[in-house]
């Protein structure tokens, strides 16, 4: 409760400073809109139904855009995980794969994932496949490398103990090696998520994806229209999604690691 109050106090303070800066009229209101204007944008683009005579055509637009972006992100991310973890385990276990696929992963992980955008657009066009491809490329290599490192750091005594208890190949892999490398895999998952999220935003901002307008598209149009409240409003939504993803996707894993491994948390 006390932690919650501290957080509330901190963010109220930020809002207050923002309001004060706006009121001082140091900058043009076009560049620094009032907090209420931003709230107004969010209201108009989500809940405001408008009037009977003049229905609000933007109602749910923010929601829809967030939905489109999240779908691209989650589907691509999931594919990246499902492919990356087994491949990472394989590269860790087989030297031939480590010297080939492992080196490839190392190289491509170093490539900023936004660099995949031009290639994806040329290959697939301005559509969902291109977005999915960008997200998968952002996720995959980090997850492969983290899993490989994790598996190679598993204390061999766990495997030996499991063998004496009658554990065999697939059982050892899924019940011993996989959970034992979890601390590394989770940090790889977080990194993959961050890379995918950034490159997806970049792609959406700079290219109009004809199959669906995501948050990046809304952000881009905020600039085109010189609508700063829209730019900041969308940014706030993007930040909130990031925080929510961390709390929903990663906190449970991290809490589990802290509790079981006894690392401070």
């Amino acid at each position: 409760m006390k932690r919650f109050l501290t957080a509330v106090l901190f963010f109220s303070g930020l809002l207050l400073i923002w309001q004060v800066l706006y009121s001082l009229k140091l900058w043009s209101p076009v560049l620094v809109p009032a907090p209420l204007d931003v709230a107004g944008f969010i209201w108009d683009y989500t809940f405001n139904p408008g009037t009977a005579l003049e229905p609000n055509e933007h109602q749910w637009e923010l929601f829809g855009a967030a939905g489109i972006t999240m779908k691209r992100l989650l589907v691509g991310y999931l594919i990246g995980l499902l492919a990356g973890i087994p491949v990472g385990m394989a590269t860790a276990r087989m030297r031939a794969l480590r010297d080939t696929v492992g080196v490839l992963a190392l190289g491509l992980q170093g490539l900023p994932s936004v660099c995949w955008v031009p290639l994806a657009l040329l290959w697939f066009g301005q559509n969902e496949s291109a977005m999915l491809f960008v997200v998968i490329m952002g996720t995959l290599w980090s997850v492969i490398l983290a899993t490989e490192t994790g598996v190679r750091n598993v204390n061999p005594i766990y495997v030996r103990a499991a063998l004496t208890m009658g554990s065999k190949r697939l059982h050892t892999l899924t019940k011993v090696i996989l959970p034992a490398s979890l601390p590394f895999i989770v940090s790889g998952m977080k990194q993959g998520w961050a890379f995918a999220w950034r490159s997806l935003m970049a792609a959406e901002i700079y290219v109009t994806i004809l199959t669906g307008f995501g948050l990046g598209h809304l952000l881009h149009y905020g600039r085109e229209l010189n609508a700063m409240e829209q730019v900041i409003g969308v940014m706030l939504v993007i930040v909130s999604i990031g925080v929510a993803a961390d709390k929903i996707l990663f906190s449970p894993w991290e809490n589990f690691l802290h509790r079981r491994w006894g690392t401070s948390g």
């Binding site: 030996r160 004496t164 959970p179 034992a180 079981r260």
Partner: protein, 269 residues
């Protein structure tokens, strides 16, 4: 299989080590860890292998466990050649080897889940029986990192006992513990051995520990690893590590150990 059958002590196995040899290559050097070692362990016997480091005693244990393959010779467990690890021969390592991603109960259930003949509720009962046996049933939901070193080894012992193996192989399981905890565990392991009727092969470099626990102490000599001498320990159980009778035995073994080391040191000078 019923729970009663599962929890009943089973007849322990006899082990036969026949002419086992093992050589390790590290870079240019060749280490002859075991040189045609033969050893008989009868049913229900508690045998301690002692010797200086590098005498191959841990290697022999790993070969009996099936975790390593010998270069020559073979192991028979109940007359059947050992080709790999098996639940009839459980191992307890110097490091506890408990899985940190599982709690105490999860660790015991790990080995029990690999026994297909039991129901999950029965597995839980079996696990509780062994937790009770090592006196830690209150800690069934504890995380591994929350346990002390001695408690971890007790849980590791419970996990090794849970599948009801015929043979228990112990590789310096108490070496990393403080003296007081170790003395408690000497009592525990003797009590459990009497109660559960296991064949135990126990590797240690601590001569007194070997004399305290073993029916028989097998002294190994290094380079190449060979059986040098055997000592029968005719003392009633439960034995106290601090008893003077025990000291007589351990002094004798220690003298044999040093007697073997001394000429070797001269030779190397």
């Amino acid at each position: 299989m019923t729970l009663q059958q599962e929890l009943a002590p089973i007849s322990p196995a006899k082990l036969a080590v026949e002419e086992v040899s093992k050589t390790f290559r590290t870079g240019k050097r060749e280490v002859h860890a075991l040189d045609r070692v033969s050893l008989q362990v009868s049913e229900g016997e508690f045998v301690c292998l002692v010797g200086p480091s590098g005498c191959g005693k841990s290697t022999l244990l790993n070969i009996i466990a099936g975790l390593e393959q010998p270069d020559g010779g073979r192991i028979l467990a109940d007359g059947v050649p050992v080709s790999g690890p098996g639940r009839d021969r459980m191992v307890m390592f110097q490091e506890h080897a408990l899985f940190p991603w599982l709690d105490v109960m999860g660790n015991l259930m790990f080995s029990l889940r690999l026994k297909p003949s039991l129901k999950d509720s029965e597995r839980r009962e079996v696990a509780m029986y062994y937790l009770h046996l090592v006196g830690l049933e209150r800690f069934q939901n504890a995380n591994i990192h929350e346990l002390s070193g001695g408690m971890k080894q007790r849980i590791a012992l419970a996990r090794a006992l849970a599948p009801n193996p015929k043979v228990l192989l112990m590789d310096e399981p108490f070496a990393a513990l403080d003296a007081l905890t170790r003395e408690q565990l000497y009592g525990d392991i003797q009590r459990i051995w009497l109660e559960r009727k296991k064949t135990i092969v126990f590797v240690t470099h601590n001569v007194r520990e070997a004399a305290c626990l073993g029916d028989r102490v097998v002294l190994f000599s290094p380079n190449p690893g060979r059986v040098q001498e055997e000592f029968k320990i005719d003392l009633p159980r439960l034995r106290d590590i601090n008893s003077p009778e025990l000291a007589t035995y351990s002094t004798k073994i220690m003298r044999a150990l040093k007697g073997h080391l001394a000429p070797q040191m001269e030779a190397s000078e």
